[in-house]
């Protein structure tokens, strides 16, 4: 046991890194041991094929957990309703998991859902772990003081075969939210404000640790929303220190330690915070109390402003490059400089995704919607729960009826309109208020226009038919 005062102060990232290094080369290239590997149907088939081709087997089968999510239908649990290539992808995941004995929550399992909702829900995401998944939003799991990173398919194969990643240590960045946000302002608004502040490349090469009262006062679900979008700030991972909130969430979950393993686990987790005086390569502080509900207006998550703001003028951009990308974005989004955000009319509403499809998100949206009706010109308003268990919980609370009575469609879990690999999508020119994480060109369907907001703001926009400050509804 090393005494605290004998070691130099370390960041949470340093601690997680140190605990997982198997070996390091002179140039810093390291083998990092992976505790948990999450899999889904889109980025794994080529990895399994590579494994089989080389005659290899998974290194540690129990470290893996799989579920289909990206292109499953949300109107039914019957995969035969999907197009043949989607069916093949899901069938391939089923077959690969069966071949190697990997636990998979298949489409007919109540535990199926978006992989980043399922991991924490099952306690498969634990503090102090290294977690990877062939999906950039693996950053989500960093909310548990776990080092969680998105990887490519070659790395999926590498982790399957060796239980390790080849990696060099990242730089560190601390983002402090120095006060709690106001009522009606959410975790989503915090992270959008951070991205607006540091830019989509602001965290490149860094692991971001989120800290301060604005973060610690969030629930676990809010913290997941914040870490989820660390990737949109360019960071490889987001982190939040372990505390009583983390502990209360983890306790009793199916994959969480129990019995005589619980106490030593908790003792270990208590060390998962940045030591006082530890150095970060970069630090940024934002005032939580000043953060307003956020709405993106462009085609990158950094193109964001407060609900009472306006669409900016490229003439006011910082440099020619930014002016260019703003012009491209405004043309794509069909918006004029100076337009008030609250004057932007919507065609569709999407409440879902690994950013905002947990029970608290659905409760927040339902609270806004209760007793009201979706504006008549809205062509579709979808609520897509993040997992089968979230759906069941919401139904037990009657949230499904709140939504359907207001005119929302209540769907089966999956990624859905976050990336429109299934039939849930925008038609060209349609404008959507979405609780997901990416507003890239074509993300929700070719020619579709996405505005990222919190669940409460999406619900408010559905009722008003245009953006509106949820606090004034």
């Amino acid at each position: 046991m090393i005494l605290e005062d004998h070691v130099t102060a370390r960041t949470l990232y340093d601690k997680l890194w140190d605990a997982h290094v198997v070996r390091t080369e002179a140039d810093g290239t390291s083998l990092l041991y992976i505790d948990r590997h999450l899999l889904h149907e889109v980025t794994s088939p080529q990895a399994f094929a590579g494994l089989a081709l080389a005659g290899r087997k998974p290194w540690r089968v129990e470290a893996n957990l799989a579920t289909p999510d990206h292109n499953v239908p949300t109107t039914t649990r019957d995969m035969s309703a999907a197009e043949p290539i989607s069916q093949l992808q899901v069938a391939t995941l089923d077959k690969n998991c069966a071949t190697y004995g990997i636990t998979e929550f298949t489409l007919d399992d109540i535990r199926q859902g978006i992989v980043h909702v399922v991991g924490p829900e099952q306690g498969a995401t634990l503090p102090g772990m290294t977690i990877v998944c062939g999906d950039s939003h693996t950053a989500t799991h960093g909310a548990f003081a776990a080092l969680a990173q998105g990887i490519g398919t070659s790395e999926v194969e590498h982790v399957l075969a060796t239980q390790c990643l080849i990696q060099k240590k990242s730089r560190t960045m601390q983002v402090t939210i120095d006060s709690s946000v106001q009522p009606g302002v959410t975790a989503k608004d915090i992270v959008l404000a951070v991205i607006g502040h540091i830019g989509t490349a602001g965290g490149t090469g860094h692991v971001i640790e989120f800290a301060g009262p604005g973060i610690t006062n969030l629930s676990m679900e809010g913290r997941m929303t914040v870490c989820n979008m660390a990737i949109e700030a360019g960071a490889r991972a987001g982190l939040i220190a372990f505390d009583a909130t983390t502990l209360a969430y983890v306790k009793g979950r199916p994959y969480a330690p129990s019995g005589n393993q619980w106490a030593p686990a908790v003792a270990d987790w208590q060390t998962l915070h940045t030591d006082p005086g530890a150095a970060f390569d970069k630090r940024v502080t934002l005032s939580g109390a000043e953060i307003q509900p956020q709405v993106t207006w462009g085609t990158s998550p950094e193109m964001v402003t407060a609900i009472h703001g306006q669409v900016p003028d490229p003439a006011d951009a910082a440099d020619a490059g930014q002016a260019d990308s703003w012009r491209n974005a405004l043309a794509y989004m069909d918006l004029q400089p100076g337009t008030a955000i609250s004057d932007i009319k919507l065609d569709k509403i999407f409440i879902g995704s690994c950013t905002n499809a947990r029970i608290e998100d659905l409760r927040a949206a339902a609270a806004v919607v209760t007793g009201k009706k979706v504006a008549s010109h809205i062509r579709a308003a979808l609520v897509v729960p993040g997992s089968g268990l979230v759906k069941r919980q919401a139904e037990a609370e009657g949230l499904d009826r709140v939504f359907t009575e207001a005119g929302f469609a209540w769907r089966e879990p999956g990624c859905s309109m976050c990336l429109a690999m299934n039939p849930d999508r925008l038609e060209s020119g349609e404008r959507c208020a979405a609780t997901s994480n990416r507003n890239f060109e074509g993300r929700q369907g070719q020619g579709g226009r996405t505005h990222l907001v919190s669940p409460a703001m999406a619900a408010a926009a559905a009722i008003a038919g245009h953006f509106v400050d949820v606090r004034e509804l």
Partner: protein, 218 residues
């Protein structure tokens, strides 16, 4: 993995910042379970005026004459010149697969998103980072009537311009070696099998809960 030692090729300029992996290969093409065949749909939404779907005959589609890949000057280019934060967004490795399948072996940009950068190396694509001044020069040269040809020498870590000028670049030494020799990461890692096993044994002692299966369900 295909080796990368030296490359002499035309340069295709794409002067746009924050090109995301959804733009590089739109999601409808991710349903393939193969690693190849993505090239014809590289930058699909910019390259064609109609909406692409898997299995379509691209020769029947409406080509966007303003997009650089459709410019006769740049046919056969194996070097892509890109803006800052290239490859941001989704971690999909289909993006480097599509670039490789199309024929690109090197990408020169002001900066790259992390995961994409990593994915390039794993697929035999060399990502090179240059500063603003050199990027501006290369963009200007590549957009002249006579397209630009560059020679990239990975061993020497430099790019040769037609006038003989050399631009130095830096690559991670481990990644450079892997590219130069076409080494497979998995084989490299499995050389340390004993160390991985020893690490696991230690961790199993100190943090046994990380190795337990699910506690309450099958």
């Amino acid at each position: 993995m295909q080796k990368f030692v030296r490359l002499s090729s035309l340069v295709c300029p794409l002067p746009r910042a924050n090109v995301d992996t959804d733009a590089i290969i739109p999601k409808q093409f991710l349903k393939s379970i193969q690693r190849t065949g993505f090239g014809p749909n590289l930058f699909d939404a910019w390259r064609y005026l109609d909406e692409g779907q898997p299995g379509m005959d691209n020769s029947q589609r409406l080509v966007n004459p303003d997009f650089v890949l459709n410019d006769a000057r740049y046919q056969g280019a194996q070097i892509l010149l890109a803006g800052s934060n290239f490859g941001c967004g989704s971690s999909r490795e289909h993006a480097p697969w599509a670039l490789l399948d199309y024929g690109f072996r090197a990408i020169i940009a002001h900066s790259f998103a992390d995961i994409f950068h990593q994915n390039c190396f794993k697929n035999g694509i060399l990502p090179i980072t240059l500063d603003d001044e050199h990027m501006t020069t290369l963009f200007a040269l590549s957009q002249m009537a006579q397209p630009l040809n560059l020679v990239i020498d990975l061993q020497q870590e430099h790019i040769c311009l037609p006038d003989g000028e050399q631009l130095a670049f830096v690559t991670d030494s481990f990644r450079r070696q892997c590219l130069l020799e076409g080494l497979d990461d998995i084989d490299l890692t499995l050389r340390y099998r004993a160390e991985i096993t020893a690490y696991e044994a230690r961790r199993q002692e100190t943090a046994p809960w990380l190795f337990a299966a699910e506690s309450s369900v099958g």
